[in-house]
């Protein structure tokens, strides 16, 4: 018979034993072997109570690592996690300590961060942690609640316990007992009647129910109508009451009518003739009748009304402003005054009529030619002479262009309106002549209050007659409606 030597038997046994040992080691060490290679991350918890070394680290219940060490750092628990290398965690991942199963094994649960964030590198720290439910804190709060409850029960106890409370409760119970006994008696003695009454009630409610359900919508409408009607009636009654009291006292025409028989007769007559008149009108008799019954009248009337409407609109658009402007010429130590009427038929169009009093007065020149002698020009200044302004202007957005007579000479002006029309920058050029330079004027005007303006500028700044001067002054400007109606009643716009 085939038999093994003792060496062979021992060798076989050792082989089998080592194979079994290897198998068990591989089975048990399968996870641990992978974990040894991973990378470490740090996380700081307020408390790592119950967490142990080698506790599991999981995402969604899948183990991805183990707790490598737990140390104290600044009064908090610094936990180092070893994560398998093929799992990457985003920077905003959240770590929290969770309890597993009923035995309370603690493990670290990680909620992965948003996709696309950069990944945490080895040795970095998971900055976001989530507080775990603290059993101790919970128990503490429960304890406080229990204290409150005990307070309530003890006060109840104070009320109910003792002689007085007991007596009160006893008397309440006695009363209740009497009451129920009486009730019972009533019910028993009237059982049949009660029964019938209940039956009737049942039928009645049944019928009512049927009626109501069948007419639900209608009933609702009726109720609504009733409600509004009653409101109206209330008002009507109040008014009626007022009238009737007035009439009763003989106040007002009706009152007199009611009290006075003659008046009533007259009223009757009046009403009769009124009826006659309206009848005639209806039949087309008489001028009013013709008017009323003629289509052309209606058309004319319509046209007339349209025209009137247009006219009124124009009149509404039409605005007139009166302004007075005083300017003190610093270099001349003299003042210059303007009085202007500005007529503005449309928003963007205006006319200015005005007079100017210039300290220099009004200049008149005369050319005298005698024979062959060269022309002699004489210049006269009339100190009391007034200068005239007559301009037309047009506004384009913030830019105003105007032209016409400026201080009795031909010229143009340009204004720029800024700051919501509060500030006006203007430039004027007029007085063009061969013998002298043009009169140029530039200035600014600022609206201080509603009707008051401040102005400053440089007058005649290219003068060759030493007329240039800085000026400062003020203006008063307001809209004049009276003037406007005076003007608009005379011309009839088309």
């Amino acid at each position: 018979m085939f038999s093994l030597s003792s060496e062979a038997k021992v060798g076989l046994f050792v082989l089998v034993g080592l194979i079994i040992l290897g198998y068990m080691s591989v089975q048990v060490g399968k996870q641990t072997l992978g974990l040894k290679k991973g990378y470490t991350l740090e996380v700081v918890f307020d408390s790592a109570a119950g967490l142990d070394r080698d506790a599991s680290v999981q995402i969604a219940g899948v183990e991805i690592g183990r707790v490598e060490s737990i140390r104290l750092q600044d009064g908090k628990a610094l936990v180092r996690l070893r994560i398998v290398s093929n799992v990457k965690l985003e920077k905003d991942a959240i770590a929290s300590i969770k309890t597993h199963g009923i035995l309370g094994d603690k493990y670290v649960e990680i909620y992965p961060g948003t996709h696309g964030e950069t990944y945490l590198a080895a040795g970095e720290r998971i900055s976001r942690t989530e507080r775990q439910a603290d059993i101790d804190k919970l128990l503490h709060q429960l304890g406080m609640i229990a204290d409150d409850v005990r307070g309530v029960t003890s006060s109840l106890n104070r009320v109910l316990a003792g002689q007085a409370g007991e007596e009160a409760i006893t008397s309440i119970l006695t009363n209740t007992k009497d009451l129920t006994r009486n009730l019972n008696h009533v019910i028993v003695s009237n059982e049949a009647a009660l029964h019938a009454a209940l039956e009737n009630t049942r039928q009645l409610t049944g019928n009512l129910n049927r009626v109501v359900t069948q007419n639900d919508e209608k009933v609702r409408q009726v109720m609504d109508t009733l409600k509004s009607a009653s409101l109206e009636m209330e008002k009507t009654f109040a008014a009626l009451k007022e009238i009737t009291t007035g009439i009763n006292r003989g106040e007002g025409t009706l009152g007199q009518l009611v009290k006075d028989k003659g008046a009533a007769e007259k009223l009757n007559q009046t009403l009769a003739s009124l009826q006659e008149v309206t009848q005639k009108i209806n039949e087309g008799r008489g001028s009013i009748g013709k008017l009323v019954n003629d289509d052309e009248t209606v058309r004319n009337l319509n046209e007339g009304l349209t025209g009137l409407n247009r006219y009124v609109n124009k009149a509404e658009q039409f605005r007139t402003f009166l302004s007075y402007r005083g300017e003190y010429l610093f270099d001349k130590s003299d003042a210059k005054s303007y009085l202007d009427l500005r007529i503005q038929p449309k928003e963007d169009k205006f006319y200015i009529l005005g007079v100017v009093s210039d300290p220099k007065g009004r200049r008149t020149t005369k050319d005298v030619t005698v024979g062959n002698t060269p022309t002699v020009r004489t210049e006269e200044w009339d100190r009391d002479g007034l200068l005239f302004n007559a301009q037309i202007g047009k506004r384009y957005k913030d830019l105003v262009l105007r032209g016409g007579l400026l201080e009795s000479t031909g010229g143009v002006g340009i204004d720029y309106m800024a700051l919501n029309d509060k500030l006006k920058l203007s430039f004027e050029a007029f007085g063009f002549g061969r013998d002298r330079r043009a009169h140029l004027k530039t200035g600014a005007e600022y609206r201080l209050f509603r009707h008051l303006y401040l102005s400053a500028g440089w007058d005649d700044f290219v003068s060759d007659q030493d007329n240039r001067s800085i000026y400062g002054g003020f203006a008063i400007r307001f809209e004049d409606d009276d003037l406007k109606y005076m003007l608009t009643t005379t011309p009839i716009p088309k």
Partner: protein
Amino acid sequence: MNRFSGALDRLGRAVLAGVEEMGKIILLFVSVLGWMFRPPFKLRNIFKQMEFVGVKSIFVVVLTGTFTGMVMALQGYHGFRMFSAESLVGGTVALGMTRELGPVLTSLMVTARAGSAMAAELGTMRVTEQIDALYVMAANPVKHLIVPRVIAGVLMTPLLTVVSDFTGILGGYFVGVHILGINSGIFIKNITRLVELNDIYNGLVKAACFGLILSLIGCYKGFNTYGGAEGVGRATTEAVVLASISILISDYFLTAIMF
């Protein structure tokens, strides 16, 4: 007074005898270490002892391991069912077998089977003056008789423990999954979750220590037998008792050191 001093006298003698015996065992261990690495190595002798200690103990160890695992599963199940943690049975059986019951029960079985045989064999040789004959032939009996047995004990007990662990877990699996109806996946998952490599390896280190203890004590008791056939029986009994007690006591200290 006389009786009292007599009692003290006996107590002192017992303690001294115990300490003396322990010292002799340690001395034997030292001389075994000394002879172990000195040629010639009688490999054939060693293999023969390994076959006797290891291979021939497999059946006993498989039997004890399997049934221990099965009964652990059964008991653990009733315990864990009280708080609905039946799935932990697998882990418990595996942990218990690898850490504790595997090494201890295997060593006890080996003590009963091989340790007693060592004591009886060497005791008979002593009583029949064969050991004296070895001295006469200038062959050291420690080198020829004890070293192979100690080597066989130290090497074979851990291997038998591996077998015991494995069959114990298999027995627990059988009872847990097929009789008690625990989900097999969870059963195995809990084993791998709870058991670590160190649990197995520390169990094997323990088993090696136990193997050393049982073979040393068996050899010592046999080697120092006196008093004929009766002496052989006494030596065998003492060897088994002392070895078992030493294994259980040292188990506590080894566990305390290792875990």
